[in-house]
């Protein structure tokens, strides 16, 4: 691999697993692909919560961070309960005055349990709500079903209405179905559900999996939709494609080149690298043996698994050497580079799609640019 030498940045993204179970059984869920997650407590233990707050305060203070994000996650994080969530968010918010670090809260939820009280809790805590919705009912309900096989779209659409009525900041989080029409997906999210911010995640895939479907056409269509929209939209993958095509950094690990700065805390206090990497294997592939009940968050930086993943995150795969697109693509998401024999030293499993996407975005942007005085 081509290695760079950069000072390691601090961890600025903390995924808190409030629940290790879910009330849906989505067909593509990376979390329940690994049955090892069922060994963890159903919800965040109180002693873990207390220890985590102490560890976070210590880490934010010692690293002199001025900004960090806390993402409430699961399973389904709302299974943690309203009172406990309200208390947790209050205690986390109190860290700001003690550490001088501004905290951005968000929660990733399937939306099924959202009611007026939940909407108020998140609004009061300035917690952005990302609701998982893949598109119109016929697309969404293909994968996002409950344990009885019933689709969840109607309940998710109701949650979107409740959040809008309460004025709670919210957006949609979709997983790309490459066979879907990107205009239908985006139109539903924007026009039917009323969201102005959303993300369409690239489906998990590694080199150890069957070859994934091509998704370049979907994302090119999504880019065209967003850039032609009459209303201002914030679509994370599109923003990052633009940033990368302009020679800047991606703001997520999903696309482009970006050093790993995210940690995950499980319901039993386990400290692990970024959660999305769980797709690389089974039987708790991100286990470090570290736990907030015993260890400082700092200890992650020295763990061999963290070291391997971090070094991979700042290192382009050998196969990418000389590629016209490497400055933009950078090899892409780490889980999309993974194979058991070569670990992270592979080109992206979506390599041809990435090239097509960046060619499309680059051409579109270039034709729009001009120089002007300030």
């Amino acid at each position: 691999m081509m290695t760079t030498t950069l000072a390691e940045p601090p961890i600025t993204g903390f995924v808190l697993k409030l629940a290790s179970r879910c009330n849906l059984a989505c067909s593509y869920c990376y979390w329940f692909e690994d049955q090892a997650v069922l060994r963890h407590p159903r919800t965040l233990r109180d002693d873990v919560r207390d220890a985590l707050i102490v560890r976070l305060e210590d880490y934010l203070t010692r690293k002199r961070l001025t900004s960090a994000s806390v993402i409430l996650h699961g399973g389904e994080p709302l299974l943690y309960g309203k009172e406990k969530t309200r208390e947790l968010l209050g205690r986390l918010r109190a860290l700001e005055s003690r550490t001088g670090c501004s905290l951005q809260f968000s929660v990733t939820t399937n939306g099924v349990l959202i009611d007026e009280e939940w909407a108020a809790i998140f609004k009061d805590a300035s917690c952005f709500v990302a609701i998982s919705v893949d598109g119109p009912r016929e697309i969404h309900d293909r994968a996002r079903v409950d344990f009885m096989g019933r689709g969840s779209h109607a309940r998710v659409a109701n949650a979107a209405r409740l959040l809008a009525a309460a004025g709670t900041p919210a957006g949609a989080l979709a997983v790309c179905d490459p066979t879907a029409d990107p205009v239908a997906v985006a139109d539903h999210i924007v026009k039917d559900l009323g969201f102005r911010a959303f993300e369409v995640l690239i489906p998990d895939a590694t080199h150890d999996d069957p070859a994934p479907r091509s998704l370049a056409s979907f994302y090119a269509g999504l880019f065209d939709y967003v850039t032609a929209s009459d209303v201002a939209l914030r679509v994370r993958v599109v923003d990052n494609l633009i940033r990368l095509a302009l020679g800047r950094r991606s703001r997520s690990q999903d696309i482009g080149w970006s050093p790993m700065t995210g940690a995950t805390i499980l319901t039993d206090g386990s400290l692990q690298p970024e959660d999305q990497l769980r797709a690389i294997g089974s039987n708790d592939p991100l286990a470090t043996g570290l736990n907030v009940l015993r260890d400082d968050i700092d200890a992650l930086h020295d763990h061999p698994l963290w070291r391997e993943i971090y070094e991979a995150s700042i290192t382009r795969p050998t196969e990418c050497r000389g590629c016209d697109y490497v400055e933009s693509c950078g090899g892409g998401a780490l889980q999309n580079r993974w194979s058991m024999p070569r670990r992270f030293d592979n080109k992206n499993v979506y390599c041809d799609d990435m090239k097509a996407m960046f060619a499309h975005v680059g051409a579109s942007i270039t034709n729009s640019l001009y120089l002007a005085e300030q």
Partner: protein, 69 residues
């Protein structure tokens, strides 16, 4: 002064203070997120089909690697 950029253009030199803008609002918003004005004269700005602007201009966008870390 406004100057159109087309693919493959080599602009030279570019004086201090000029900013890169886009006619596409979604792109222009990102250009405006951080001050994109060139902090110093650049010998050249290369535009190609993959990375739209070269590192001379990219440094003006920030955050630079030094800022980032």
């Amino acid at each position: 002064m406004n100057a159109t950029i087309s693919s493959g253009t080599l602009l030279a030199p570019v004086p201090t203070g000029l900013v890169l803008r886009s006619a596409v609002p979604a792109v222009d918003r990102i250009l405006r997120e951080s001050n994109p004005a060139l902090a110093q004269d650049a010998d050249s700005v290369v535009v190609n089909r993959v990375v739209v602007v070269n590192t001379v201009w990219s440094r003006a966008f920030g955050p630079t690697e030094a800022d980032f870390f």
